[in-house]
């Protein structure tokens, strides 16, 4: 398999990484995800990495890049379900993913995205009137 499926859930995109992330796969994911954000008008992206045993510096950086790219495309990224060992490894590598938001599991991540986007929507309607 050289593509990770991206599911659309309402305003959000859900990416569940179920296989070992190798570099090619990560590059493909980054490409697909940016395309999909644009084509689906997504407001948020959830990346579930609970099945990942190991994250190296490249994948760590890739997650950061994906978050930055999505932000430019006006979508919030939340990385969810990171395992303790992975978190420790990333911190020891000096990669604390400063630009990436994190949550314990998909449910929490979804709540977080909803909260953020409703705040944005409220601000938007305050300045520009109701967009919907």
């Amino acid at each position: 398999m050289d593509r990770i499926p991206i599911l659309k859930l309402g305003d959000f995109l859900l990416v569940t990484v179920q296989v070992d992330m190798h570099d090619r796969l990560a590059m493909n994911l980054q490409e697909d995800l940016t395309d999909k954000i644009v084509s689906a008008h997504a407001r948020g992206v959830l990346i579930d990495i609970s099945a990942l045993d190991m994250v190296d510096s490249f994948i760590g950086r890739m997650l950061g890049n994906i978050a930055s790219m999505s932000r430019i495309l006006d979508a919030e990224t939340v990385v969810v379900g990171m395992r303790p060992a992975v978190a420790i490894t990333l911190v020891e590598l000096g990669l604390s993913l400063p630009g990436v938001r994190t949550a314990l599991n998909v449910e929490r991540g979804m709540e977080m995205l909803r909260a953020t986007i409703s705040v944005y929507a409220a601000e938007y309607s305050e300045y520009h009137g109701d967009p919907f």
């Binding site: 990385v79 978190a87 911190v91 993913l97 314990l104």
Partner: protein, 294 residues
């Protein structure tokens, strides 16, 4: 050399009872008063076992190389004796003296046996000294090893004891740190905190450093690492229990705590945690309680 008769093993077997008697008497005399040592029978037993082993080994092996397998039984017995004695509070030198005190007795016997042949006498004195010295040093090594085992065990116990993760409320964990944070401890702290975050699904973790005596750049770095790791798991960290001196040190060292929230006391941090979870604490009166009960 075949013409060199081995006097020592012969001596040991010939005068065994006598040696045993005077040696254990010597041991008992040397025993420090008021100290609960091992019992007299045990001591006698130890002496007997050791003498037997010594006799056998010196009989079979003229090379007095303690590492050879022939000496294994003697070494094992000495190890047991050292263990037993140090359990009863004997110091390494006490245990070494146990072996060294055999010298005088053996020398006296050698003198009465072969004192008239100075060359043989000198040679035998030398071999005996050599063997006993090595055995004495061996007991010291064993005693040190025992101590090291104790220290290692205590260290690992302390490591486990010193990193409790407690649940303060639903979704709120606290990590009271006590003692200096080195890298090894940080690792343990980090792991147990992250495991607990996964287990309880907590969203907020309070790291209380009231019990951390000093915070230098290294400790601060370890703290920040823990905070970063918890954040990657989706939990937010609050550092509490920062004493004025520590605040001053942090500033003087130029440590940047970034956007980590810090509070002076655990209570303040807990209040913040409750507020973030949309919980309020209210004071109530007995009358109001009764009313709500109805």
């Amino acid at each position: 050399m075949a013409d060199q008769e081995r006097i020592l093993p012969e001596l040991l077997s010939k005068h065994q009872t006598q040696i045993l008697e005077s040696w254990s008497a010597e041991q008992l005399r040397n025993r420090r008063p008021g100290k609960a040592g091992i019992s007299e029978e045990d001591l006698r037993g130890q002496c007997r076992d050791f003498l037997n082993a010594l006799q056998e080994a010196s009989q079979d092996d003229p090379s007095d190389d303690l590492q050879s397998p022939i000496w294994e039984r003697a070494r094992d017995i000495l190890t047991d004796i050292s263990r037993e004695q140090s359990k009863h509070g004997a110091s390494p030198s006490d245990i070494a003296t146990f072996v060294f005190s055999l010298k005088q007795i053996l020398f006296q016997l050698l003198q009465t046996e072969i004192g008239k042949r100075p060359e043989v006498f000198a040679r035998e004195i030398w071999t005996t000294t050599l063997i006993l010295d090595r055995l004495g040093l061996f007991t010291t090594q064993v005693a040190l090893k025992i101590r090291e085992e104790v220290i290692a065990r205590q260290q690992s116990e302390m490591l486990e004891l010193s990193t409790p993760v407690v649940k303060l409320w639903d979704g709120v964990l606290a990590l009271p740190l006590i003692g200096t944070l080195d890298s090894e401890r940080t690792q343990v702290v980090m792991e147990s905190l992250l495991e607990e975050i996964v287990r309880t699904g907590a969203g907020i973790a309070i790291i209380d450093i009231t019990g951390v005596p000093t915070v230098d750049t290294l400790v601060a770095q370890h703290l920040l690492k823990t905070v970063a790791a918890a954040r990657l798991m989706g939990a937010e960290c609050i550092i509490s229990g920062i004493r004025p001196q520590i605040a001053a040190t942090i500033v003087h060292l130029g440590v940047d705590l970034g956007d980590v929230s810090t509070k002076a006391t655990l209570a303040d941090a807990f209040a913040i945690a409750l507020r973030r979870n949309n919980l309020v604490v209210t004071r109530t009166t007995p009358a109001a309680r009764r009313q709500s009960a109805e």
